[in-house]
């Protein structure tokens, strides 16, 4: 099962962007500069890798691994919220 893949100490990468956008996402200056919204309709989806709970186990999920399929991503404010 996916359980073995979990690395409790292995960080996920977070947003993954092409080189020219890297300054935007330089986390050392993130608080000073602010990260910018990159998502636009009609433009390529910003790639990312995040840790995830999948089928009862833990693993990292990278969005671009699903290129070639229709994808829906749903952000929501938090577990145990009411809506």
């Amino acid at each position: 099962m996916a359980e073995e893949k979990d690395g409790c100490v292995k960080p996920s990468k977070g947003p993954i962007v092409v080189a020219e956008l890297q300054p935007v996402l330089d986390y050392s200056s993130e608080r000073k500069e602010g990260i910018k919204m990159l998502a636009r309709v009609g433009k390529p989806a910003p790639d990312f890798e995040l840790s995830a709970y999948v089928n009862g186990g833990f693993q990292n999920v990278r969005l671009s691994d699903y290129k070639g399929k229709w994808i829906v991503i749903c952000f929501y404010p938090g577990d145990f919220t009411f809506v």
Binding site: V17, I35, A39, A45, L50, A52, Y66, W70, C74, F75
Partner: protein, 150 residues
């Protein structure tokens, strides 16, 4: 979340991969699934629940609320070419409409497959428009606003 889970089979049949993302850790996701979601829907949420600690991905997608420290409700449809086709962002109090999500997926899939365009309120089986010089100024002949609500 559970509403999407209820319609998961229909979305899966459309070839859609679903990912839920919040700033909660994967461990919190596990307990929410086991303690609550699994009691709302048999088997709970069948798609991956991702952890966006710090809201870094939410920021790039324009849905991170720095004041609250959470990702607000944002839903994105991405096509097989990895292009964002649709986004819908709501403040947290109002939940989304999964039926509208499915309608939009079907409309985008139809548009990609046929090159046609779908007018307001389009549902599968209803008339589409074929863009071209001969349609300019003539949309009124083929489509009436009332059709958006039929």
């Amino acid at each position: 979340m559970s509403a999407v889970a209820v319609k998961y089979a229909e979305l899966k049949a459309l070839g859609v991969e679903i990912f839920a993302i919040s700033t909660d850790s994967r461990f919190t996701h596990k307990i929410w699934q086991e303690e609550e979601l699994s009691k709302m829907t048999p088997g709970g949420v069948p798609f991956p629940m991702l952890s966006d600690g710090g809201g870094r991905v939410g920021t790039v997608y324009g849905v991170y609320d720095e004041d609250a420290g959470v990702d607000i409700r944002g839903r994105f449809i991405i096509d097989p070419d990895f292009v964002i086709r649709a986004m819908e962002v709501l403040t947290p109090e109002v939940g989304r409409n999964v039926s509208e999500l499915i309608r939009q997926v079907k409309a985008f899939q139809h548009v990609v497959a046929t090159g046609e365009v779908t007018p307001s309120g389009w549902q599968p089986g209803k008339p589409t428009l074929k863009p071209g010089p001969s349609l300019v100024g003539k949309v009124w002949e083929q489509w009436k606003p009332e059709m958006a609500f039929e």
